[in-house]
Structure formats: C-alpha cells, structure tokens
C-alpha cells in the first residue's frame, strides 16, 4: 500500500490545494505512472528544502508518502525544489487541481 498526501499553499493568492490518494485505488496505468515518478524522485532520500528568505508569493509544497517500508514527509517550494522532484510535484499539482474542481 502506498498513500500520498499532497498539499500546496501560498502563491500570490495565498490559496491551499490538497490531495490524498492511495495508489492501490487508482487505475493500473495511473498507479504505474505515479509509482514511476515516485521512484525517479526518490522522495525518501530528500530532506526539506524551504524557500529562500527573499522569495515572495512562491508556492510551498508538502508531500507525505506512507508506504509499507516507511513514512516520509517532505516540504519544499518552487524556488528550492530539487529538479528530480519537479515531475512528481507537477503531476500531483495537476491531480489536486482536477480533484478540487470535481468536489
């Protein structure tokens, strides 16, 4: 079982958008695609990377992965995010925005 909790806050609007999903509940293709992004990001090896002191209106992200082999929570931002994490964050952001429009 792998559960992903994603939250983005801030930006020029100061808005909060969040998402919670279980990979086992997704269609196989979507689950496989997200699993690949998770593997490529290697989230468990990443530490928090807060935004620089002088950045304003950037979006802050919280990613929490709850898997069979452990739990890891990561905080980052637009300006401080490691490059290998960006594809995962971009996809989670898209899914979060889509879910927001459906609820």
């Amino acid at each position: 079982m792998t559960r992903i909790i994603f939250e983005q806050t801030g930006g020029v609007m100061g808005r909060r958008v969040s998402l919670s999903l279980n990979l086992d509940d997704l269609p196989q293709a979507d689950s496989k695609s997200l699993k690949k992004l998770l593997d490529e990001a290697d989230v468990f090896s990443l530490a928090d990377s807060p935004a620089s002191d002088s950045a304003r209106d950037v979006i802050h992200y919280l990613i929490r992965i709850e898997a069979d082999d452990g739990i890891h929570t990561l905080r980052t931002s637009d300006t401080s995010m490691p490059d290998r994490l960006r594809p995962l964050v971009q996809e989670l952001s898209r899914l979060a925005r889509l879910q927001q429009r459906k609820t």
């Binding site: 909790i5 806050t9 801030g10 930006g11 020029v12 609007m13 100061g14 808005r15 909060r16 928090d48 807060p50 620089s52 002191d53 002088s54 950045a55 304003r56 209106d57 950037v58 979006i59 919280l62 929490r64 929570t73 905080r75 637009d78 300006t79 995010m81 490059d83 960006r86 971009q90 952001s93 898209r94 925005r97 889509l98 927001q100 429009r101």
Partner: protein, 375 residues
C-alpha cells in the same frame, strides 16, 4: 476555511517537538509548521538583511533595462531570452505583457517618486514567462519576476486562471516585492508579512491606475481583475475597496480577507495569513486615497512610499505602519493637514487608532513570539 490553532499557538517549542514525535499525522504537520516558522524567524534575526544590501551595483544604470525570458514550460530560470530593452513587440502576448507591465511599473516609481528601478540603482528588470505547465501563480524569487500561464493544461471548462501577465497590477505587485526587499525588507510572516503583501497590492493597484489615468473614485481597486476565467464567480483575487468580497466560488471558496482588526485571522497557514490580513492595511490605504481624492499615486501613494523607504523596518506591525504613515503625512503636508487627517481616518476605519496601543486581537501567536524574544 482557515483554522485557528489556538492550542498550538500557545504551546512552547519543547511541547511542539514532542507532538512532532508522537502526535497524529495531522498534529505532527501542524506542530512541524509552527516549529519551522519559529526557527525561520530566529534565523532571520541572526542573518539580518546584509546579503541583500551587499548586492548594490557599483555602476548606476539609468533608464529602463527590461529583459523577458521564456522558461518554455520548464522551471530553469531565467530561461531563453526573447525580448530586450527597445526590441519590437513579439507575437507572444505573455512576453509583451511582461515587457510593458514592468515598464509601466518602472515609470510610476521613477516619474512620481524619483526611484530608479527596484533597488534605486537601475537594477535590470528581468521577467520569465511560461513557467512550468499548469502553473497558476506569479512570484518574485528575490532577483526577478516569474509568471505562469494559469490552468492551460486543463480542459477549458476546468480552467479557473488565465496567464498571470494579463493583470498589470499583478506585475506591479511582484515588482514591488523587490522594492520592499531593498527598503524596509518587511519580514514575510504575520503582520510584517501582511504589510509586505499590502505594499505590493497598493503599488500594484497604483501602477494600473497610473497607466489608466484614473482617480481614486474611478478606480475599481481590484487586484487581479484579469486573472479569472469566466468559470469563476469573482471579479479578482482581492478587493482593496471591500476586502472579503472579490470572489465567492464553489471551487475557490470565498475571499477570506478581513477589512477590520476585529476580523483579523490568526492562522499558521500562508506564513501567518500574509495574503489574508493584508486586507486590513489595503483597506486603510483605499480609505486614505478616497478621503484625499484625485489621483491616488500623488498624495496617498507618496505617503506610503516615503513610509516604506524611510521609516518601516523588518518587524513593523500594523500599528507601526499607522503611526509612521501619519507621521510622514505630517512631515510632507503639515501637522493637522487634510492629508494627515485622511491617514488617521483610514486607519480608524480598520480599527487602528493612531498613537493608541497595539490592537488586542493581533493573536496569541504574536504574544508567544514576543515572550520568546522572536518578535
């Protein structure tokens, strides 16, 4: 929508650390956010702002120096150069809007307040457009402006946001963050952070009014009037005239901004509500401009500009801004002048009395931070 974490805001750090270790996932997240905020403030006290001010160039450049880059839907900054100063317009609307918008902003600060760019030393105005895919935001990264294209990655019926260069006041807003960085450098947390955001809204709105040559009565005082698609029930992201009324939408929710200290929102989200409580000083400025009348950039804008550049400090709170704008109005227009009275009226209308005590509902978090010597 905005939680009031009254337990956490009176909890000392050692207890927060205990919650981080042993609490539920939600409790751990809230406790960690509070601790991170505290650590951040502590660190800022130590590092101060020296690094920003050592960046003053040795050569002073005069005139606009705009360059627009294209991130090509990636995140590498600044990206590929598309248009430099004096180059003709391109076929890309986002590029042209970023170019023109940074020019209008430069013009307001230079023509009205005599300021030569963001740092007053002719800092180059670099902007990047087409940042990432589906990026519904704009930001100042400490050196340049960055703009996303909104929800272009979603189907038309799901799109809420247009490209962020469409709103001139948003361009002015981001550029003003740069001005604030080189001047008062208001902390980006709680009341100083809300003042930081408000300054960006004030001068962002003034850029738009100046470009349109509108008086205070003619202006709509909306921030981001061009950002929403037709799918959103709203007129913009904030209203300085009537904070809390800019949007009320099934997806986005309701505009959370207060217009009065009695409705101040105590929260740990959004850096302590910097985009929420900015409604209070925003509305104070609107009232001052309305009371004075005419073009808002001429008198109300001048009072705010001189206060930002000469008087406010990193830790200034709303009461400090009120007292210092009042003092500035007296220095420029005379003690007891109509302009100084207008400043008093503006702050009174949002529940802040010139020369009075700090408003009582600024939040328990601030009290704790003060007790810890962090505010």
């Amino acid at each position: 929508m905005h939680a009031h974490h009254s337990v956490l805001c009176i909890t000392p750090p050692h207890m927060l650390e205990q919650i981080v270790r042993n609490g539920s996932p939600e409790q751990r997240d809230f406790a960690q956010q509070t601790l991170t905020a505290s650590t951040e403030l502590r660190r800022k006290r130590i590092t101060v702002i020296a690094t920003l001010r050592t960046a003053v160039p040795t050569e002073i450049i005069t005139g606009k120096q705009r360059t627009i880059y294209d991130a090509q839907y990636g995140s590498q900054l600044p990206g590929v150069k598309i248009r430099g100063e004096g180059d003709p317009a391109t076929s890309d609307s986002a590029v042209n809007e970023a170019y023109d918008g940074s020019g209008f902003t430069y013009d307001l600060f230079f023509n009205i307040y005599g300021r030569n760019s963001i740092d007053n030393h002719g800092l180059k105005l670099n902007s990047t457009v087409h940042y990432q895919k589906g990026y519904d935001n704009a930001f100042w990264d400490g050196q340049q402006m960055v703009y996303g294209d909104g929800d272009e990655d979603l189907s038309p019926e799901q799109q809420l946001f247009n490209r962020f260069t469409k709103s001139l006041d948003v361009i002015g807003h981001e550029l003003t963050h740069g001005v604030t960085q080189y001047e008062a450098n208001l902390d980006y947390f709680r009341q100083p952070g809300a003042l930081n955001e408000s300054m960006s809204d004030v001068f962002g709105s003034l850029v738009r009014q100046y470009q349109r040559q509108q008086t205070a009565d003619q202006a709509d005082w909306i921030i981001g009037a061009d950002l929403f698609t037709a799918n959103v029930n709203g007129v913009g992201i904030r209203s300085m005239k009537a904070p809390g009324t800019a949007y009320d939408d099934p997806v986005l929710g309701k505009d959370p901004q207060p217009a009065h200290m009695k409705d101040y929102v105590n929260t740990i989200e959004d850096n302590g509500g910097v985009h929420i409580n900015s409604g209070i000083p925003n509305h104070a400025f609107y009232v001052v401009a309305r009371e004075i009348g005419g073009y808002a950039w001429e008198k109300a804008g001048l009072i705010w500009y001189k206060t930002l550049t000469d008087k406010l400090t990193t830790t200034s709170a709303f009461i400090d801004a009120a007292n210092l704008t009042y003092q500035t109005a007296g220095e420029i227009f005379g003690t007891g002048s109509l302009e100084q009275q207008a400043v008093q009226t503006g702050w009174a209308e949002v529940g802040i009395t010139i020369g009075g005590p700090p408003p009582s509902n600024e939040g328990c978090f601030t009290s704790v931070m003060r007790a810890l010597g962090l505010s």
